[in-house]
Subunit: 258 residues, 2 copies
């Protein structure tokens, strides 16, 4: 471990009062000094949004275990920017996000606020990890997820993560005895097929709820979806360079000219 008491920044997208962030704080405190900067309200599905043209408010908030934290009226990515840019005297040694109430596998990683906090950490050049439990119930038992987080946080403090990289950790909702282990995976190909639920308000005007069905379009055994569906924790190394490098040569052959 590089430092005897590393500085660990924790955020999430379910908001500072969600049970999942408290569970992550409890584990992180075993390893170092924890600073919590999290949204003051739920930010699920916020993708990598930042607050442009909207002022931010900061409130002090005490977590249920007594740790003082900061609640920001912004997105998860805002929280990491604010923490590293304003609040923290020195840059954190590790950034954690979660534990999210619900999976962030396959393309859901694009929409995930949890992952965006970790991705923003990677942009800042800092080792970052997002944790998600595959269970939407906020009352779900997180003791197994905590055990998984403990193993991965310890490893990430011991070993360097390549610059600009983050880890996307998804944890199936299983007992320790049913959990088969940890798999290193890639993001599965898939998409949400939208089914907008059309309704009418009391004034006769239509409105729509976005809902969807996940279609897995990948039969690989090395994917996050395969791991989760087969009882394994999924750990996917991710990056924020979105370039499709193999397609650069194809595009050159298009001979685009003005």
């Amino acid at each position: 471990m590089s430092k005897s008491s590393p500085n660990i920044l924790i955020s999430n997208d379910d908001g500072i009062q969600a049970p999942g962030i408290l569970r992550l704080v409890e584990v992180a405190q075993e390893f170092g000094t924890v600073t919590v900067v999290a949204p003051d309200s739920a930010q699920s599905g916020m993708g990598h949004a930042i607050s442009v043209g909207k002022p931010l408010r900061l409130h002090h908030e005490v977590l249920q275990n007594g740790l003082p934290g900061y609640a920001l009226s912004g997105t998860p990515a805002d929280c990491v920017k604010f923490a590293t840019g304003v609040l923290m005297d020195e840059l954190p040694d590790l950034i954690l996000s979660g534990i999210n109430h619900g999976a962030n596998s396959s393309v859901s990683s694009l929409y995930s606020g949890t992952l965006s906090a970790a991705r923003e950490g990677s942009v800042q050049g800092l080792p970052s990890i997002g944790f998600s439990l595959c269970h939407f119930d906020e009352a779900a038992d997180m003791s197994v997820a905590q055990e998984v987080a403990r193993v991965i946080i310890r490893a990430a403090l011991d070993r360097p993560l390549a610059p600009g990289r983050l880890l996307n950790v998804n944890i199936p909702f299983l007992s320790t005895s049913d959990l088969k282990g940890i798999k290193i995976t890639r993001q599965a190909k898939g998409k949400w097929t939208e089914e907008f639920d059309e309704r009418e308000d009391p004034f006769g005007r239509k409105y729509y709820w976005l809902k969807g069905r996940f279609d897995l379009m990948d039969d690989g055994t090395d994917t996050d979806e395969y791991a989760l569906n087969n009882g394994y924790v999924s750990v996917t190394p991710m990056m924020h360079d979105l370039t499709a490098h193999p397609q650069m040569a194809d595009l050159v052959s298009w001979n685009l000219s003005l």
Copy 2:
């Protein structure tokens, strides 16, 4: 060209009444039948956000050139989901987003609502392109940007774009004679260094404006930033698979176990 009159879906993040989307519609109408589904308000910096737990409203809106369009009370990604999932009888042959008022190069592509509409198109398996003009003024002349869009739309209708890929097109604000050509590029390494501007409201409470300074951390001559800084249009092929494939083997060597 695969069809004599392709169906083209257009969205953006500056809102349906922004000048940039009208300029893109004008060009797209030269090639096929255009459907516009765009946010009913500005959505800059929305990243790949989607509306979770918030109902959506749809309004009919007529663009300044007389084309009927749809304004949705959601994010750019919502617009593409809604268009392809509900509004359009058949899937579009091409999805365009923009023309954004402002650059979306380097890591700004992560925060960009413009790019998220195109990225959502790629998730849906459809060829998608985001266009951004490197000028924030909504009154900026877009005739050169239109000429660039014309060349790239024609090429994208003529040739297949690999599934799951999108193009990020950034256009410098230059005259035709000063524009040097089109470069195929990769996303430059860089980050925004945050400088939160602290103020006090009339009630004595602090608030913060997120502002930042872009730090380019890449001296490559094959990047989007290099192209733009040297008078070229930048075309970056992008993907929505965020896996850092080269790091998978590194992580296997961590021997993570519970």
